[in-house]
């Protein structure tokens, strides 16, 4: 069982009184990986992080760091460091003292501490802020100091609890890239908690999506996006059309479903039952609009419909097409063509997609 994973959760459950915050989560995070825990607020992602840090103890299950069971160890005996959501900088200590805190706890000698503090402050590009108090810094600067305070210790794993949440959009974008770059340099395992799916997609090597304490899906950003395991994941990440349908038959991961009288093909990883009701999920940008006499692509299925709504959105245009009564589908088309060739409201069109992008989801 040697350290194949830097962080491993084995059937971890956490109750707070009668409330179950984390339910039977098993997860392995590899050394040097940028791993994001993604989910809406209250989904249990922060509790997971706090259990890894040691602030909460699992009700059952175990947590391993570098292959060693640390489930019952207090935070200060775990070789992990956390960047807190509100930074939690010590207001009574100067910036250098804040950054030096963890090294002092390890009993490192003063000269070495001074050197490493200086290096780290340079790394976060705040070399002159050492003598200031945290309340003299701006939000972005505090964020960097919180990061410096954690990475200066060279932890085995760095935990980040929505560290960018309090920053404005532009700063956040910049910090996303900076963080990613820092992680590459340091080659430390990052566990990053966020509710922002875009942030997770941009930064992560892998993502774990959580909902109601349950880990729904773990995978690379592309896998999660293109092959969501269930309806929640499909819904939470990106936009998705959900067309209510009935399963006609299924074989080897391919199924045929009926959507309001139209038969469609789709892929599926879930266990399907013939004749049961399900949803056909298809992302708006995977759907192509065709004029009446465009040639047919053999990988595609096509259905006729009427445009009932168009919204110009700059890089693309969002159309709503009615395929049948009560069956509407959202389509996003990139505005590659000049305006005159775009489709008009009320126009009859064909919609088509490659069947690999259509997924049947029972739940």
């Amino acid at each position: 069982m040697a350290a194949t994973f830097d962080v491993e959760l084995r059937t971890v459950t956490k109750h707070f009184g009668s409330f179950t915050a984390v339910k039977d989560v098993s997860l392995g995070i590899r050394q040097g990986e940028f791993f994001s825990l993604l989910g809406p607020s209250g989904c249990g992602k922060t509790t997971n992080l706090r259990m890894i840090a040691g602030f909460e103890l699992p009700t059952s299950g175990s947590i391993l760091l570098g292959g060693k069971d640390v489930s019952q160890l207090p935070p200060f005996k775990r070789n992990v460091n956390t960047v807190f959501q509100n930074y939690a900088l010590f207001p009574h200590l100067s910036v250098s003292d804040n950054v030096a805190f963890g090294l002092e706890m390890k009993g490192i000698d003063k000269a070495e501490i001074a050197k490493r503090v200086k290096e780290t402050l340079e790394m976060v590009r705040l070399p002159d802020s050492g003598k200031k108090k945290p309340n003299q810094l701006s939000g972005g600067q505090r964020q960097r100091i919180a990061l410096a305070r954690a990475i200066v210790n060279r932890p085995q794993v760095l935990l980040l609890d929505e560290p960018l949440g309090a920053l404005d959009l532009k700063l956040r974008k910049a910090m996303q890239l900076e963080l990613k770059e820092l992680q590459r340099q340091l080659a430390i395992t990052f566990v990053f908690v966020t509710h922002d799916q875009e942030e997770a997609l941009v930064m992560s090597d892998r993502i774990g999506v959580m909902d109601h304490g349950v880990l729904r899906q773990v995978g690379t950003p592309a896998a999660i996006y293109d092959r969501p395991a269930d309806r929640f994941v499909a819904d939470f990440i990106g936009d998705t059309n959900f067309l209510p349908c009935r399963v006609v038959d299924h074989r080897n991961g391919t199924a045929h479903v009926q959507v309001a009288g139209l038969t469609m093909s789709a892929s599926s990883d879930q266990t399907l039952t013939d004749n049961s009701s399900a949803y056909l999920a298809i992302r708006p940008e995977k759907v192509q609009l065709y004029g009446p006499d465009t040639p047919h692509n053999p990988n595609e299925e096509r259905f006729a419909g009427v445009i009932v709504e168009t919204v110009f959105m700059g890089t693309d245009t969002r159309y709503v097409v009615e395929l049948a009564e009560d069956i509407q589908i959202v389509v996003r088309q990139q505005n590659r063509n000049i305006a005159s060739t775009r489709f008009a409201l009320g126009q009859t069109v064909d919609v088509g997609w490659e069947t690999v992008f259509a997924r049947v989801l029972v739940s």
Partner: protein, 293 residues
């Protein structure tokens, strides 16, 4: 300077004047009697009903009275010792109440308020009975007799003062702890500080104002207590309030004013010293505290 204030206007200026006026009135109100008693400590009249003339004889007779000097010494010993013990125990209690969940916590919360609301005399009488039972029992058990027997004295007074002061300290410190972001303590532990280091390096400095406030309150209460002290003390354990209370039965002599003035000075020196020490510590721990934003 960080004069915090809502946006200015005439109304505000008017309100500020009112605040100033109230402040001046309040301090006049607080200090008028103190000025009077300091002045009368130099009054050359035994009953001190009227101003007769200036004298320092009351300070001389105070300094020569062994009873008064002993009482002052006893008062300071009791106040300092009980303040220190109660501050430590009260802070620990506050930590337990604020950072832990345990069975019967609500009940204990209520019990903590009891010493605040119990009338002095009731606590005094019950402690008198209790200490006599306790010390009697110990004396019997160990076969202590005569002058070797355990007696009530300053130690029992300190025990009693701690018993009521724990609550006051705990209540004050809890308020400070409640306002402290628990995330800071987690951050310290995350950085490798164990519970004790976390307390010493993060929690303690941040709740120090609350602890000092609690300690000052305890000191004040202890220094002024008469009833509980009287009923728990023993031979050689007369404190200043007992001495003053006894003497006032006959007349409030300028000597008592002299004692009070002297005690005021001693207390003020203690506070100034502690303030200076605290400032020095603060100055050492960081470069001057500036607040912006």
């Amino acid at each position: 300077m960080n004069e915090r204030q809502p946006a200015g206007s005439d109304f505000l200026r008017w309100g500020k004047r009112l605040l100033w006026a109230n402040m001046i009135f309040s301090f006049l109100f607080l200090y008028l009697p103190i000025v009077i008693l300091v002045a009368f400590s130099f009054n050359d009249s035994k009953l001190g009903a009227r101003w007769v003339g200036f004298t320092t004889q009351w300070y001389v007779s105070m300094a020569q009275s062994e009873a008064i000097l002993t009482a002052m010494e006893n008062s300071l010993i009791v106040a300092l010792a009980s303040t220190i013990i109660a501050t430590i125990l009260g802070t620990m209690t506050a930590m337990a109440m604020e950072r832990f969940r345990f069975p019967f916590q609500r009940t204990y919360d209520g019990i903590l308020y009891l010493p605040v609301i119990i009338p002095d005399i009731v606590m005094a009488i019950s402690l008198l009975a209790f200490f006599s039972l306790l010390l009697g029992g110990v004396n019997n058990l160990l076969g202590l007799e005569g002058n070797a027997a355990l007696r009530p004295g300053l130690v029992t007074v300190i025990i009693a003062h701690v018993a009521f002061n724990i609550s006051f300290v705990a209540i004050v410190v809890r308020t400070s702890l409640g306002e402290l972001d628990p995330g800071l303590e987690e951050a310290a532990q995350d950085l490798g500080a164990n519970e004790w280091t976390t307390f010493r390096r993060v929690t303690l400095p941040l709740i120090m104002p609350g602890i000092l406030g609690g300690a000052l309150l305890a000191f004040t209460l202890s220094l002024d207590d008469f009833v509980i002290t009287f009923f728990t003390t023993g031979p050689g354990g007369t404190t200043l309030p007992i001495e003053v209370f006894g003497r006032i039965r006959r007349a409030i002599s300028p000597e008592i004013n002299a004692i009070s003035t002297a005690m005021l000075l001693v207390s003020m020196i203690l506070v100034i010293v502690s303030q200076l020490v605290q400032r020095r510590t603060a100055a050492l721990s960081s470069n001057s505290v500036q607040e912006t934003q």
